[in-house]
Amino acid sequence: MAAPVMSRRAVLQGLSGLLIGFSLADPSRALAATVVRSGEPVDDKPLASDRIDAWLAITEDNRVIVYSGKVELGTGVETALRQIVADALDVDFDTTSIIQGDTALTPDQGYTAGSKTIQIGGMQLCRAARSARQLLLRNASERLSVPIARLETRQGHVHVDGNGQPALTYSQLVDTQVFDAVVEAGDEQPNPPRFVGRSVARVDIPDKIFGRFAYVQDLRVPGMWHARVIRPPTTGAVAVARLEDVDTTSIPEGVELVRIGDFLAVAAPSEWQAIRAAAALRVQWEAKYPLPDMDDLHDALQAANADEREIEARGDAERALSEHDNILEATYRWPFQAHDSIGPSCAIADVKNDRATIWSGTQGVYPLRASIADLLGMALESVRVIYAEASGCYGHNGADDAAGDAALISQSLGRPVRVQWSRADEHGWAPKGPAMVMALRGAVNAEGRVAAWAFRNWTPSHLTRPSSDAGARNLLAGNLARASVAQAPPVGGDRNAPVNYVFGQYRVSVHWISVEQSFLRCSALRTLGAIQNTFANESFMDELAARAKRDPVAFRLDHLKDPRAKTVIERAADRSEWIARVSPLREVESAGEGQRGRGIAFACYENEFAYVAAVAEVEVSDREGIRVRRVTVAHDCGQIVNPNGLENQIEGNVLQAIGRTLKEEVRFDPMGVTSLEWGAYPLLTFVEIPEVDIVLVDRPHEPPVGAGEATSAVIPAAIVNAVFDATGRRLRTVPLRWRGES
């Protein structure tokens, strides 16, 4: 069998040379990094994030190894992080390479999530690289007995007095203990950036295009078996099915059964064998209905026993509203949504008595290690989790759970095991983006300004990721094996619940719904609560503008002080040739052959990071329903690292968010999720995509902030506002439906 080998990645990245690295005094230890992907033990690689050598190493042939706890999820950050390091360390981009997400090799940078890779991870690396450059200069100064002021760096070399001939290479400067040093704060960018701000081609794309890239789904280890987990007949936030009996006569020859509590799996030497065995296995479950009627979902969320917590307030919104006789009230509803990774989750685990190695597409190798160590009953340091890229994930999909599955099965069978989730596993069992209800009340005054604004929402937690606190509870395998329930701190539902508009009378509060009342198991999905809350806030802003008979663009600008916020709205309006209007343009009972309209929405991500405004142009017809024809986005995320990569992310956000607005909805019956494949949980298709026009607002002197999800947040409201503009009908429930109930 010709199997891709674990070390291929390392080889492809040019890591075959000898690694000498910052403070890696013993070259033989550094050499171990060349076999990282094979899972061979690596001892004593510095990992503490305040140390330069946790982040960087330089090889004998003057190449730079970057150790990143943030990982490439298909967004291009591998390239962007290398651009940042190349400039900060002053080396050629092509001499850099990255090792990502490995608890034995990379520092703990938490999750790769929340659009924080460049914003936080990139800046950590930048500081480390700048400190490293300072160290190199100091060392060169000592070595050459030349004051630092006379030295400069150029592309991996140190020069004296601007001399064209380099005096030393970086690699010549790092073979002593001197570089065992801590990251220092400060230090300006050494030279004008050579790579940051340029559309450097993504380094991962060619291998993916030629079929030479190994995703986690493609990895194989010697002696590995294939396993499939047999899921209970019910899906819910809390498992209610109990495994009663397995008909052992239904287990085919050569297939192993693993049963731990309610966790049930089959494993076989060949994948097709395992698939067939899982399908043929006869299992008796005792189950009760875990879920209420889907039609009652949003009422049930609002009826949940959930404490109200105030997030922000100014003035006394309640009193202002009670004094107004013409207040506007609106309730907005968002469904459960799935991660819809095209490749279902997969993981490989090799659990031995004294140590375990896990290959996973996880967004957080360290938190996953903690949960798996608990699941296996092993010490933290005995478990190594290695990131291997999977199909695009947009949050906490099934990757961690698949790793838990594989670990438990491998431990039970005493051999390496690969678990590949089925499509139904992914659609049914991966954590869901939460359903939410947002209720707003507001009023406008005679001057056409917002007199009061009150926002409340009802939200499950958006975070049930693995963690050291939660341990095995936040892995499906843990839930099933131990009949436990996920731990969910109140996170995410408040994201972008506040607005950046300045209102005198203003109150924002959140009702946090417990796991037990959350219907389905929820966790992080792109933007966390920002897409739901911005959908509500920006729809309601439009409703108030209509009530005040004001142009939606001017109405927004009137309530903003932050110039960056105003700029993106103005740029989006200009580029889309926005014509000032009072929406709706027309009010129609039936959209007939087609009505066109435009809507705008704005958000500042987490109220302090990227600024985004979008104008959507829609066409509504009775036959085809709602079609988005054109979207114009103006985007300000501070300094731009890679314009093409940024546009790629913005386009992806626009298209995915249109799908989330018009099509995506997890359906369930009282037994659990019924939308278990793409026909029942459809994505946007090629014939439905609009034109997308992007205005990038570059601010080279502002820190770069995340761009991975901000745009998603504004798309739903831009669309419903455009539908209102076109037809006079205000849709408040996602996915939007033109025909039927709305």
Binding site: Q217, I342, A390, N653, G679
Partner: protein
């Protein structure tokens, strides 16, 4: 188990297999041709598309017995970095990928389209690719890449 001879990317392979094994698992597990991806196992998403007898088909739905003896082309057989197929070059030039998990299938479906229709309109391309799913939202770039490849080839 029975013996099947498969003609893949110009090489012949004789294997002992269950006749109902989908071609997908043979390519990935027996032959290490992992560019052909498992996405749904139901023929819905297109991630496992390969060319069989010149037609773009979903290998998760084709039993190895039906594929035996017919010329099969996978992404690995299309081109190499040294000698890229115009479609591959166009996808790189357009940076037409995010996670890229769907891209093998996109390229193999587009390959079938261009063989049948060397100068497709934008609408032709969108329609031909519409049963291939992309989760990241790379559609605009994929369409541009196919247009670019059509111009070149």
């Amino acid at each position: 188990m029975a013996e099947f001879t498969l003609d893949i990317n110009g090489s012949r392979h004789t294997l002992d297999l269950d006749a109902d094994t989908p071609l997908l698992y043979v390519l990935r597990n027996e032959l290490g041709l992992t560019a052909t991806r498992f996405g749904c196992g139901l023929g819905e998403c297109g991630a496992c598309t390969v060319s069989i007898d010149g037609r773009s088909l979903r290998s998760c739905q084709v039993p190895v017995a039906s594929a035996a003896g017919r010329p099969i082309l996978t992404l690995e057989g299309l081109g190499t970095p040294e000698d890229p197929h115009p479609l591959q070059q166009a996808f790189i030039d357009e940076q037409a990928a995010q996670c890229a998990f769907c891209i093998s299938g996109m390229i193999m479906t587009a390959h079938g389209l261009l063989q049948r229709n060397p100068s497709p309109t934008e609408a032709d391309i969108k329609s031909a690719l519409s049963a291939n799913l992309c989760g990241c939202g790379t559609h605009l770039r994929i369409v541009r890449a196919v247009q670019r490849a059509a111009k070149v080839s």
